[in-house]
Amino acid sequence: MKKRTIKMVAALASAAMLATSIGVGAFASEGDGSTPRNETLYFGGQQWGAINDWNPMSANSNNAMGIQQKDSTRTLIYETLFMYNLLDNELYPLLGTEWAWDDEATMASMTVKLNPDAHWSDGTALTAADVVATFDYNLKCQSSYGVEMSTFITSMEAVDDQTVKINSVVGDDGVAVNPLMIKQMLQKMYVMQKAYLETVEARCESPEDMKLDKMEDLVASGPYMPYYDDEQKVVFIRDENYWGQAESMWGSLPVPKYIGHVIYKDNAAAQTALEQGEMDVAQLFLTDVQKMWEEKELPITTYIDEPPYNIAGTIPTCWFNVEKPGLDRVEVRKAIAMATDYDQILASAMSNQSPSFADVPRSMMNPSDPEQASFDHDALKDLQWIGKDIEGANALLDEAGIVDTDGDGIREVDGTKLSFKAECPSGWTDWNASLEIVAAAGKEIGIEIETYFPEASVWTDDYTTGNFDILMNSVTGASITNPFYRCKQFLYGPFADLEINYSGNYGHYRNAEADEILDGLATETDPEALKAAYTRLNEIYLTDVPSFGLMYRPDMFYTVNETVWTGYPMNEDGTNIPPADCTDGYGIAALYQLELVEG
């Protein structure tokens, strides 16, 4: 009896196994999005988790590979009017051919000319009416970018099929309040098809519902269209009818027929894939990246061959909540900033992949030449600190009367112990390590700092509502709006009044003088006045220390493996294509110059 049971079980089990294997096999052959390796450019580190929609107006999109409206917008599927090049801080034509203020003095309106060759993936022409409809629908459905745009654009009008007029929001003096943001919009707003938007509107109950539409039947103008996606990977396929092959644009189709992105479990899995040549372009932070070519001798390279390997664009920053007792004292904030060991952060947390504060002394500007030239360096010399200055920090606190009165090794301010939580999302390795180094500095100067690494969503809630002591968050990197917008992010008081604040000044710092300078700065064009204003803003920033940069960091990491493809843009190769991972802003130009590795 017993034996028979065992036999039965065994038979059943093997039958079940057979059935599953057949099932899996059948599914695999049905269409798993597999594409020939030598026609596919594989990315990594951009998309984490499955894609959930194709809607640029969506509020909860998880489609980083396809949709990213940012400082250098990703134009694989949807396209913008212009492309931003972080190397020269210029806009390059895409759907738009040229743009100009109608009146340079007031910047009250702008005219943009469209490329007459541009058409949609369904073959219909892309006209000014589409651009206008995109703006109108973004407003109508209150998409987050729509809401933002309404603060600096009142309306758009189609003058003729190829001409769009953009009307700025103007102040009492008739001058545009924020012309830089309009310029940024040229490379940020995805142009969508009017007819398609109307279809979507018709199938939604209310305009707000349009934000929830998945748009899986999308019509777009970009060189690629969705081909396959699931929890394991995302594949785009080239649109053979792409308008950009016209001589007026690229003159050819992009080289890879497919764009693939395998969704990896974590950084380590992605790194393994890169090393094995399964991934071509990696947007990954890789510890000791130089070992890949120095020790493992792999055909892997970064934009620059020597440290810092990438172009630094942004400044991950430690924000103080200046409303917390203790952190409302500038001495405490400055002491923490002075005691932190930045060289250690750079060397260990960042694996030497950005310039040091010795190379580029601290300010609100990123290390790029134009931004560094925007202020007077000599004026800031006495205000900048070098870090790891435990003695100086201790002296500063002692002088301010912030001492340890109860002998527990922790200083007090008005009877409250200086004990803070420093927060950033768990799993953001280099940030976690940086905060550990800040916490170690706190230990040296009698300030208790404990690190706190919650889920990213908790961290987002905390920084948007000001619910933190010390928090790590980044600021905008290379952008057409910078350094202006970054200064605003660091200092602008009115941001603190926002109920949900994604904009900046997360620590609720207030300085009337800074607000006034920033208000006047958006429309200032005189270079001397600009320089004076930026210098003063930096003085305020470095004196009051509402936050402090922990390191410089590339906007995007760019590491390529030349096993299958070559011809990637490299530093000083004369192409002027930025290392924006072949996908963002003018970086997409790289897709037109790639070649297969011979042999």
Partner: protein, 415 residues
């Protein structure tokens, strides 16, 4: 008692386990006498410096020079270039350097180097060459230039006017004795991602992990023993209640409970003792169950009944008539609890829920950071392998001791 101890120490398994375990324990106490550096000090500026002795360059330059008649590197260049590189150089020279194939075929290693020095130009148009390869050639060229250079290296210092003044020149036959150099530091196991000395950190981490294991084991054993003794001896409703609670704790996966508790107390409170206590408080159930079942079989034995008849208090009966019979089992369970406590801490820290990184080092924390910084992918074995080894050896020695004890105490296993 004496006899039991002698039996225990006659068990080879127990002795081996005991020696390993106490050897390790002893090492963690002796090591800090010799190396007094703070184990959490971030010495190395960079990730994962490899094991070895690091000597001060400045001291080397200032040190006494000895001239040794050892053939210097530049004497026979070819030997110092790898064959693969030589082949690459030949390809480059033929394809981009304008050297003919015949000339190349005739060239020996030294001629190759000469040709290379003459013809290589990083700015040359190198159509079809991978960017990574181009960069590799630039690095190779730098190496060869260095090898080929016969010139003495000049050491200069900046004088008051900001000009460089030669203080010494060094040729390739000059050596220094490492004993002359006072500023040096040996990292037996290299450094970790924060630049901390792995060996020093490992010693502290081992100590902390053992402490966690001991506390967790003690807590778990005490709770389990107490509840087991009482529920087994008293029985009835009391037993039902205790066994109900025990079952409840057995069904809830203890590790999940552990994660929830440690997460909710926050990192500041997550000191070593607290973590250990929490681990202990979630892992006592099987000790309790086993003790209870043993007590139930004991409580109707004659000697227990005799004690009862003699009017001994419950406390006395439990302590003198029952406890000694379960003691051997409890000791064995305790040993296993230590080992599982250490492993539980490692698991917790791997999830980032261990004690705070800046205040203490634990084995789990070390593993966690090594993995986060991809030490296992970059060949930085010293950052994770010794940690794994220590965890394994602790668990192994404890289990060995346990097996040894089992053989002594369990009549069925006795030879």
């Amino acid at each position: 008692m004496k006899n039991t101890l002698r039996n225990i120490f006659h068990s080879p398994k127990f002795v081996i386990g005991f020696v390993i375990f106490f050897g390790l324990l002893l090492f963690t106490f002796i090591y800090p006498w010799f190396v007094m550096a703070d184990p959490l000090e971030m010495v190395g500026q960079g990730n994962f410096f490899k094991p070895g002795t690091y000597v001060s360059v400045k001291d080397t330059v200032d040190s006494k020079y000895y001239t040794l008649n050892i053939q210097a590197k530049s004497a026979n260049l070819g030997d110092h270039i790898e064959d693969k590189d030589k082949a690459d150089m030949r390809d480059w020279l033929v394809n981009y350097g304008g050297v003919s194939q015949e000339e190349m075929d005739a060239a020996d290693d030294n001629t190759l180097v000469a040709l290379w020095l003459e013809h290589y130009d990083s700015k040359a148009k190198q159509k079809g060459l991978l960017a990574s390869k181009k960069k590799a050639f630039v690095r190779l060229d730098k190496e060869i230039q260095k090898l080929a250079s016969d010139a003495d290296m000049i050491i200069a210092q900046e004088n008051e006017d900001g000009e460089l003044e030669e203080t010494a020149s060094v040729d390739s036959q000059q050596y220094v004795n490492t004993r002359d150099i006072s500023n040096k530091r040996t990292f037996v196991l290299g450094t970790d991602n924060f630049g901390r000395d792995v060996l020093t950190e490992l010693v502290q981490a081992t100590k902390v992990s053992l402490k966690i294991g001991l506390i967790a084991g003690t807590v778990a054993t005490l709770i389990g023993l107490l509840l087991g003794l009482l529920s087994g001896y008293i029985g009835g409703v009391f037993d039902d209640v205790i066994i109900f609670i025990t079952n409840l704790f057995t069904v809830i996966p203890s590790f999940v409970l552990l994660i929830l508790i440690t997460y909710s107390v926050g990192q500041n409170a997550r000191g070593v003792t607290l973590i250990a206590t929490v681990i202990g408080a979630t892992s006592w159930t099987w000790t309790c169950r086993s003790v209870r079942s043993q007590v139930i079989s004991l409580r109707n034995r004659d000697h227990v009944n005799l004690s009862k008849l003699s009017g001994h208090s419950m406390m006395r009966i439990v302590l003198t008539d029952i406890l000694p019979y379960v003691a051997s089992y409890v000791v064995m369970a305790f040993i296993l609890q230590i080992s599982s406590g250490i492993l539980a801490e490692a698991q917790l820290s791997m999830l980032g829920l261990g004690p705070s990184t800046t205040t203490t080092a634990t084995l789990g924390q070390m593993m966690n950071w090594a993995t986060l910084y991809a030490a296992h992918l970059n060949g930085s074995w010293w950052a994770y392998f010794p940690v794994v080894f220590v965890i394994t050896i602790i668990a192994f020695s404890l289990n060995l001791m346990n097996t040894g004890l089992d053989q002594v105490f369990n009549p069925q296993l006795r030879d």
